[in-house]
């Protein structure tokens, strides 16, 4: 029994290991996102959609969108592979991070921790120990607690109980982890012979006051372990006290009720023993404790001398065993026809969480009747996880298969549309001569520069002023024909005055106009640059479009057989996995049927013994007339 308790203890923290993957992101809970795409990955990751998170992470990494979070992203990728059960990929990633000398200490510590976890899951305890020992210092208290427990469990698997005790003995950590630590420490101490201290520690876990489901479940396990330990040691009162602390509705309750009955029976209190045992009789007969109770109740009545009740309960037991055997037979038939897996997948709520709990409420049909019981078995659970994963992969591939058909049409349509529009586009492009525009811009720029250098105010004249200057030029030319003629002196003076006024105006506007000219030239430069860019882009698009379309078409074409080939393999693996699950289920139900056969034989034997005794020692006949 103790060996089994150790197994229980060693595996206990597995139940609370899953959330720790989220700690793979350094800096939680406040993640300062420096790449929007990294934030998009986290959006899916925080919703526990690990597959989508991983796909986006891989795609964004290859697209170069995660530069600012390169190391965090890599650590997260390893964590995601780990959470999907892809240990080999996770290990490769963590080892790569550790091989990089530039990895900061806090990322390095997390990588060591996760590598240790991967190795632990693979059963490589010595290697896991080395990795976990390398990680310390910067881990969060929760991760450090998990690290310590993994180390201790690794020691216990290798039966190095003293090292496990040394790891856990003086350790203080977060409450939940500490409770698991105390449980394991208690078990290790019992294992090395320090029973009193070990059971004391288990007892302290068994008396934890909490509403946290994890802790309550651990408390039940501790009390059950203590109860059976005391029962085997011949201390029924102590056993009863521990077993009474187990919840009546939890997964350990049937075993606790059975043990409580046996504690009473061991103290010769058969009437008291009947209470927990009869409580068991209303429960699922596939539970070993319930099956046992069907024999225990008539046994107690027999011990109390109530032979009529004993006979009645043995007959009830035989009938119940036979009925259950028949129901198991029906279920085996349903499983052989493949209906079990349909029921298991139907019971799943959203594929992410809560589905196991819901199985307790599945309808009582042959295919689903024993689902809850079967799922308590590790191998069936792991097999169903694989089956669900394959089902999801199959749906995913089927979705892509449809999309690829649409992609092919899209590429073809796009190519046809391009060919149709090409002549008109070419004609439009032919009318555009950006080089000529560029040349005119350069000439204008040169003229402006010269005007600025020579302070040529007339060069910046408006159209109207230019007309006035031209008119003054014509007047001057006319006046030149009458050189020396005094009759034109007045006109000459007026022309000089008018030119002076005009030049004075041009000079006054020079500063503003040169600034405006500069600005207009800058705008012109930008416009010409845009025109050149658009022309280049248009030319590139015109020349590159067929090539790009062909490349996209080739990628679609290349992906189609990949999707199809993977689909075939996934379907084959799904069928194999389904058959394997059915075999496990049938094997388990056959074993149950066999056990029920044995119980039935025992009940018949006990019944026969009572009848034999009754025949050998008939009750004295009551004289007639006796009141």
């Amino acid at each position: 029994m103790l060996r089994r308790i150790l197994v229980l203890a060693a595996l206990a923290p597995c139940a609370i290991g899953a959330p720790a993957v989220e700690e793979a992101i350094p800096g939680l809970p406040a993640v300062k996102v420096r790449d929007l795409h990294y934030g998009d990955v986290l959006f899916y990751f925080y919703q526990h959609d690990h597959f989508d998170a991983l796909v986006r992470l891989a795609a964004y990494r290859d697209q170069g969108h995660l530069a600012a979070h390169a190391r965090d992203a890599e650590l997260l990728r390893g964590g995601l592979y780990l959470s999907l059960g892809q240990h080999r990929e996770a290990q490769e990633i963590f080892e790569r991070i550790l091989a990089d000398a530039a990895t900061p200490p806090e990322v390095r510590d997390r990588a060591w921790f996760y590598l240790g976890k991967v190795l632990y899951a693979a059963g490589l305890f010595a290697e896991s120990e080395r990795a976990l020992q390398s990680s310390s210092g910067t881990l969060s208290p929760e991760l450090d607690a998990e690290r310590r427990l993994l180390l201790a469990q690794g020691f216990m698997y290798r039966q190095q109980y003293d090292r496990a005790i040394a790891e856990l003995d003086v350790w203080q950590g977060p409450r939940l982890w500490l409770a698991y630590g105390q449980f394991n420490l208690g078990v290790a101490l019992v294992r090395v012979g320090q029973k009193e201290r070990g059971l004391g520690l288990l007892d302290s876990v068994g008396q934890i006051v909490s509403e946290w489901p994890e802790l309550v479940a651990l408390r039940d396990k501790a009390n059950l372990a203590i109860g059976y330990a005391y029962l085997q040691a011949g201390e029924p009162a102590a056993a009863r006290a521990a077993l009474d602390r187990v919840r009546l509705s939890g997964p350990q309750s049937s075993k606790a009720l059975l043990g409580a009955g046996w504690a009473d029976a061991a103290a010769k209190q058969y009437e008291a023993a009947l209470l927990p045992w009869q409580e068991l009789q209303g429960r699922n007969l596939l539970d070993a404790a319930v099956q046992e109770s069907y024999l225990a109740v008539p046994y107690a009545y027999a011990e109390l001398g109530a032979m009529a009740q004993a006979v009645s309960y043995y007959e009830k037991a035989i009938a119940a065993y036979d009925a259950e055997r028949s129901r198991i037979g029906e279920s085996i038939g349903a499983i052989r026809s493949g209906r079990l897996l349909d029921a298991a997948l139907k019971a799943e709520r959203d594929g992410r969480e809560g589905w196991f709990g819901q199985l307790a409420d599945v309808p009582d049909s042959p295919e689903s009747r024993y689902l809850y019981h079967l799922l308590a078995g590790h191998e069936f659970q792991e097999g169903l996880k694989n089956y669900r994963a394959l089902e999801a992969m199959s749906k995913n591939l089927s979705g892509w298969s449809d999309s690829l058909g649409a992609f092919t049409d899209m590429v073809e349509t796009r190519q046809k549309a391009f060919e149709m529009r090409l002549p008109a586009a070419d004609a439009r492009l032919a009318t555009v001569d950006v080089a000529a525009v560029n040349g005119r811009r350069d000439a204008l720029h040169a003229r402006f520069e010269t005007a600025i250098a020579e302070r040529d105010v007339e060069a910046l004249a408006t159209e109207e002023e230019r007309g006035q200057l031209d008119m003054l030029g014509e007047v001057d030319a006319e006046l030149a024909l009458h050189q020396g003629d005094a009759a034109y002196d007045d006109a000459r003076e007026k022309a000089r005055l008018a030119r002076g006024v005009l030049l004075w105006k041009l000079d006054a506007a020079w500063k503003v106009r040169s600034w405006q000219g500069n600005r207009a030239l800058r705008d012109l430069n930008a416009a010409v640059y845009d025109a050149r860019t658009r022309e280049t882009a248009s030319m590139r698009a015109r020349e590159g479009a067929p090539e790009r379309n062909a490349a996209l078409g080739a990628r679609v074409k290349e992906a189609s057989p990949r999707v199809a080939a993977l689909g075939v393999r996934v379907d084959a693996a799904k069928s194999a996995q389904g058959r394997h699950l059915a075999e496990i289920a049938i094997e388990e139900l056959e074993a149950q049927r066999h056990r029920l056969d044995e119980y039935s034989v025992q009940a018949r034997y006990a019944l026969a013994t009572i009848y034999d005794r009754a025949t050998a020692n008939p009750p004295p006949t009551t004289p007639q007339g006796t009141p």
Binding site: M1, R4, V7, L8, L11, C14, L28, P29, K32, L36, Y38, G39, D40, L42, F43, Y44, F45, Y46, Q47, F51, V55, R56, A58, A59, D62, G85, H87, R88, K221, Q252, K255, L258, G259, A288, E292, L295, A296, Y299, A376, H378, E379, N386, A389, N396, L397, W400, S403, L404, F407, M410, V411, A541, L552, R555, A559, L566, V570, A576, H580, Q602
Partner: protein, 177 residues
């Protein structure tokens, strides 16, 4: 009978933890299936990555691509219900958030609410945030941004943050290149 029952009891006691927690050594058949599932999952992840990129390249080429993201810091003064996005007065996205998604946003996740195509030039992006403000009051706010779309992909972040001094939510728009 008692001896028999005690032995059965011992068997049950031994099997108690095993039922719940013991992980038996995998059989050869299970190991082979596990290995195949692992290999398939790796290949399916790689294929999905390639197809995700292909889909983007095909439907949203970088030259015209624009993506709008929604992020949130603490969200004390605003409980987000939905976000509506209009581009050049045309509705392109209207997204209602679940509790799970809001939790992911609060923890640092960023939601790519819209991925689309725009021609080069200036465009107007308008976002409307609907939810509950302080004191459970219905709250709707809009924010506008002029986006100059060039030849490369454009990313717009709509960030909801808390303006502690004014006890009000703040809606910040930021353009990433």
């Amino acid at each position: 009978m008692r001896t028999l029952l005690i032995s059965l009891l011992a068997a049950i006691a031994v099997s108690v933890p095993a039922l719940a927690d013991d992980a038996p050594e995998p059989t050869a058949e299970r190991s082979a299936l596990d290995a195949e599932v692992q290999s398939l999952r790796r290949e399916v992840v790689d294929l999905n990555r390639d197809l995700f990129m292909l889909e983007e390249d095909l439907l949203f080429p970088a030259s015209t691509q624009i993506a709008v993201f929604v992020s949130m810091d603490i969200g004390t003064f605003f409980a987000l219900d939905s976000v509506q996005i209009k581009v050049d007065d045309k509705e392109v996205a209207n997204y209602l958030y679940t509790d799970r998604e809001l939790e992911a946003l609060k923890r640092g996740g960023v939601h790519r609410i819209w991925l689309g195509n725009l021609k080069a030039g200036e465009h107007e992006v308008v976002a409307f945030f609907t939810g509950k403000g302080t004191h459970e009051r219905d709250y709707k706010r809009g924010t506008t941004l002029k986006v100059e779309k060039g030849v490369g992909a454009k990313y717009v972040e709509l960030k909801i943050s808390d303006r502690v001094r004014k006890l009000q939510p703040e809606f910040v728009v930021r353009v990433w290149e």
